[in-house]
Structure formats: structure tokens, C-alpha cells
């Protein structure tokens, strides 16, 4: 752990909240500007990974225990998949968003928002999981 690097610790403490906020911005503004669930998930995961690099994987695991990331991993995929099933139940095709609301355009909007959220959750959870497993592993060195 890097207990001595005061500058790095303080600066990253300042940076991590904007990183997470920017990830959420990218997530929900993806309909209007560049970005979307995938990029947002990566940025969100990067915030946690930065924290893990500086303060150790164990500290991150206190905030976000392994069972939580594993659960989020599944929740993200299911969010995507079940949105498609919801379209089926409401009388459309699989992943047909037009039937999700009365107005097809609104349906598309909701569908894309939910699906992107699923993508973001999965990507963020898998990035954090992969990093935690890699970094938590004790190497030969």
C-alpha cells in the first residue's frame, strides 16, 4: 500500500468523485452526446480501480464486497435480457422497445435508457471484478 504518497492520495481523493459523476453523466447523456453504457461502465470501474491501486484492494472490498460486484454483474445482464422479455410480454418482438410505452418514441427512449443501464452495470462490475481478482492474487514477486 502507498501510505507515504500524500500527493497521490489527496489528489485521487479529489478526483474520484468527479470521475464517478462523469461516468453517470456519460451514462445518461449518451442519448444526446458521445458515450453510453459501455464507456460509462469503464469510467465508473476506473474510479474504483484508481482507488484500489492507491489504497489497496482490501479497502475497496469494504466499500464494494465481492458478492456485490458478482451480483451486479448478473443484474446488468438480466436488466438487458429482461427488457427484451418485457417487450415480448407486451406483444412485440424480443428487444422491441416500441411497445414499452404508449408512444413508440417514448418506448424507444425508455428501452434504450434501461438497456444502456444494464450494459453500464455489467461493464463496471466486470472491470472491478477482473481487477480485484488480478490484484488480490499474490504473485511470485
Amino acid at each position: 500500500m502507498m501510505h507515504r504518497k500524500v500527493v497521490l492520495r489527496v489528489v485521487s481523493k479529489f478526483l474520484i468523485p468527479p470521475i464517478l459523476l462523469f461516468a453517470l453523466y456519460v451514462q445518461f447523456h449518451g442519448d444526446f452526446g458521445p458515450g453510453g453504457g459501455f464507456q460509462a461502465g469503464v469510467i465508473f470501474g476506473a474510479g474504483f480501480i484508481l482507488y484500489a491501486i492507491l489504497f489497496g484492494v482490501e479497502t475497496v472490498k469494504k466499500v464494494l464486497p465481492p458478492w456485490a460486484t458478482r451480483l451486479l454483474l448478473v443484474v446488468g445482464v438480466l436488466t438487458y435480457g429482461l427488457t427484451g422479455v418485457a417487450g415480448l410480454l407486451l406483444g412485440g418482438n424480443y428487444l422491441d422497445y416500441n411497445v414499452l410505452a404508449h408512444d413508440p418514441l417514448h418506448g424507444q427512449h425508455y428501452g434504450i435508457l434501461i438497456v444502456e443501464l444494464g450494459v453500464g452495470i455489467t461493464v463496471a462490475a466486470s472491470m472491478i471484478t477482473i481487477f480485484n481478482v488480478f490484484a488480490g492474487h499474490r504473485g511470485r514477486g
Binding site: 500500500m1 458521445p34 453510453g36 469503464v42 476506473a46 454483474l73 438497456v115 499474490r138
Partner: protein, 187 residues
């Protein structure tokens, strides 16, 4: 592009893997800059976040698990053969690009299949200002679903291969009473 070539050469020559992973991050960042020049902001965004950010971190994590120096195992004949194979493949790929339409060509097939419908009808059919998002999440939602499954599978695979070892080690540590020097090692 020249910078990218120079970086690629440096990556092939340098034996210190720490420098190599840093250089590959810079390579991705230069690639992202090229995507911006080509007006593909979404791709550039992804390249910068994934290629320059996450993969570099993952490579560093792998280096922490393995070793920093590249081993020169194979003999001269083997590396010459590898060099020949790489050159041949590269030549074939470059030959393949000769048949591609010029950049920005109006009559290129890619501009005549589904792209006009996406660009023209996206506003009335999906209503998203960002056409990239509407293509990714609505027109091509099955592809994106597949992508999500790929990422999910990657994380599950890593967990299946390395997660078990980590758990076993933790049990060992819990059985061990004096494990303080081991923790300093891990950082």
C-alpha cells in the same frame, strides 16, 4: 499514424515489459486521437477509456503477478519464421485494403446498405439525437446484447480461473496467524 508505427516498433524492441505496457497505452491514446480526426467520437471515447485506461491497468496487474522482463527463449530460426509469418500476413492484409473504396467515397457499399435508413429515419423511429446510440441500443440491440454477454463471460472466466485460487489463499491466510509480511509483499 507515423507515431503509431514508431510506438509499435518500440514495443517490439523493448524488453522491459513495464515500458511496453505503458507504450501500448500511449498507442491506444494515439489511436483515439486518430478516431477523433475521423469524426468517430464514440469510438475514440471507448478506445481512450478501454485501450489506454483499463487494458494498461490490467497489463500492469498481470506484470505484478508474473515478471517484468521479457524472456528470450526461442532461437534464431524460430524468430525468423515468426517474422516471416507476420510479414506475410501483414502483406496480405495490406493487399486486401487495395480493394476497399476510398475514404469518404459516396458510392461505397457501406453507405448504401442500412446506413441511409439509420441516418435518415433515426429521428422519427427512435428519437435519439445521437444516432450512434440509437444504432447500438435499438437497431442493433441483439449485437449489443451479445457484447454484454461477452463481457459477462470474460468476468466469469477470470473468476472461475483465478477467483478460486484467491479464495483458497484467503483460507490459508486465515489459518495462518502471522501473515503481516505477506501483505507488504502484495503491494
Amino acid at each position: 499514424m507515423l507515431i503509431m508505427g514508431a510506438i509499435a516498433l518500440a514495443i517490439a524492441r523493448i524488453r522491459d515489459l513495464f515500458a511496453v505496457s505503458m507504450l501500448s497505452g500511449i498507442f491506444s491514446l494515439t489511436g483515439a486521437a486518430i478516431y477523433v480526426v475521423l469524426d468517430a467520437v464514440d469510438v475514440a471515447f471507448t478506445e481512450a477509456a478501454v485501450g489506454a485506461g483499463i487494458s494498461t491497468v490490467l497489463m500492469l496487474g498481470t506484470l505484478a503477478l508474473t515478471t517484468r522482463q521479457e524472456k528470450l527463449g526461442a532461437g534464431k530460426a524460430k524468430s525468423t519464421a515468426a517474422f516471416l509469418v507476420v510479414t506475410l500476413t501483414g502483406a496480405v492484409l495490406v493487399y486486401g485494403t487495395f480493394d476497399m473504396p476510398r475514404y469518404g467515397d459516396k458510392i461505397a457499399p457501406i453507405h448504401h446498405h442500412v446506413a441511409p435508413r439509420y441516418l435518415g429515419k433515426s429521428a422519427e423511429e427512435v428519437g435519439m439525437p445521437n444516432v450512434v446510440t440509437s444504432v447500438l441500443a435499438s437497431y442493433r440491440s441483439f449485437d449489443t446484447l451479445g457484447e454484454v454477454f461477452v463481457i459477462f463471460t470474460a468476468a466469469t472466466g477470470v473468476l472461475a480461473i483465478m477467483g478460486r485460487a484467491a479464495r483458497r489463499r484467503r483460507e490459508d491466510e486465515e489459518a495462518d496467524e502471522n501473515n503481516s509480511p505477506a501483505k507488504e509483499n502484495a503491494s
